[in-house]
Symmetry: C2
Subunit: 225 residues, 2 copies
Amino acid sequence: MKSPSQSRDRGIPEATVARLPLYLRALNGMAERGVATVSSEDLAMAAGVNSAKLRKDLSHLGSYGTRGVGYDVEYLVYQISRELGLTQDWAVAIVGVGNLGRALANYGGFVSRGFRVAGLLDADPEVVGDDIAGLNVEHIDVLEAVIERRGVSIVVLATPALAAQELCDRVVAAGVTSILNFAPVVLSVPDGVDVRKVDLSIELQILAFHEQRKAGGPLMAVDSQ
Amino acid sequence: MKSPSQSRDRGIPEATVARLPLYLRALNGMAERGVATVSSEDLAMAAGVNSAKLRKDLSHLGSYGTRGVGYDVEYLVYQISRELGLTQDWAVAIVGVGNLGRALANYGGFVSRGFRVAGLLDADPEVVGDDIAGLNVEHIDVLEAVIERRGVSIVVLATPALAAQELCDRVVAAGVTSILNFAPVVLSVPDGVDVRKVDLSIELQILAFHEQRKAGGPLMAVDSQ
DNA sequence: CCGACTTTGTGCATCGCTTCACAAAGGGAT
DNA sequence: ATCCCTTTGTGAAGCGATGCACAAAGTCGG
């Protein structure tokens, strides 16, 4: 089935990919504090995961640790960054400049790690022309031109639910294959296009479920606080 | 310690819980359009999941379908809402009224489904006193009082990374056991406290990973060492 | 009332992720 | 150089989620 000939397996598990940014953040903090090497135990603690899981995750990238010592912080930062594609510059366009889009444009975490906001687009004439985080908001009509001319490869959708699918279709048609969707809808996209969803309302509902259960569910009564 | 549940198995899989809000949203849309019953196939399509998975998910709540017909939309909406705890009113406090906190306060999805923003808190004197979405921003000093007096059971943390852990400790000490964290840090909390994390930067990094693979893909040479 | 048709609910095989436990690998002291 | 100590990398078991495939259960037309 799988050819074991290739030493480097490019098929990194999805669950591992989702944790790499976590490790990277912890490592950056350590690097800033001047830590030179770190054991899997310590790094796992900082990232809030099990140490065996951490070691297995890192083993998918290669053998970057030293037995009896640990991992070199700087080197590991570089390796994870490279694996995640953060050594290159990513142009991001934010579509929909409402409250959320505005917050995203101002969010420092974007710029800090290889992501650059290359365009802000909205349909509302009231908003078009505004300057936000040093960028001019452009009309949604020029969406395709912005994507093509500025090499946008990742689009953040922060529009109302009703507009999301149509705009999604347009950015996909313009060649974008990575979308971060904040609109509360299930987007349908062709194969080969990645959509990640962030849904505030769903997160709250999951919390409410657990909270209800903790409070005793339908059967028990809350008795102390 | 475990309450002996009588008939219904209270142990609904976490993966199922995470999908219930998705089904609920699709069902609400159908109810608005006047659809009376829906098959697992159609509902699954609307929610973007496999129909067998949907049926198995719903079977964890009980046997609410009719073979040969499907599910009654209104009834299923009620059952899922009840299971998620949305039939009661949840008071939410938003801690940190920066760009993101402001966007959250204005986000309609909160109020719409059983969640009520009961407090906005910030440490910045510049922001305290502002009116946002009809609410007055209060100083972080009164955090504990707000939580206790207004029965806040869910707290949304939208603060800078550095302040998050300390504020988390305070809301936990005040009795809150459900936290939605937007700050890019791993919060440490005692057992029994639920923390869900939303991290925009991590989502982007995961997209970048896949985008890089698509772009470079099979042709890109890797260092062999 | 019956038989054809539709759709649910679920047993089962499978898959991927997690966790444990330990041999292998390296560093440092003597 | 050799022994001891630390820590990595990984085989293997365990666990939960997924999806197929089908019997059970219900509807509807005749």
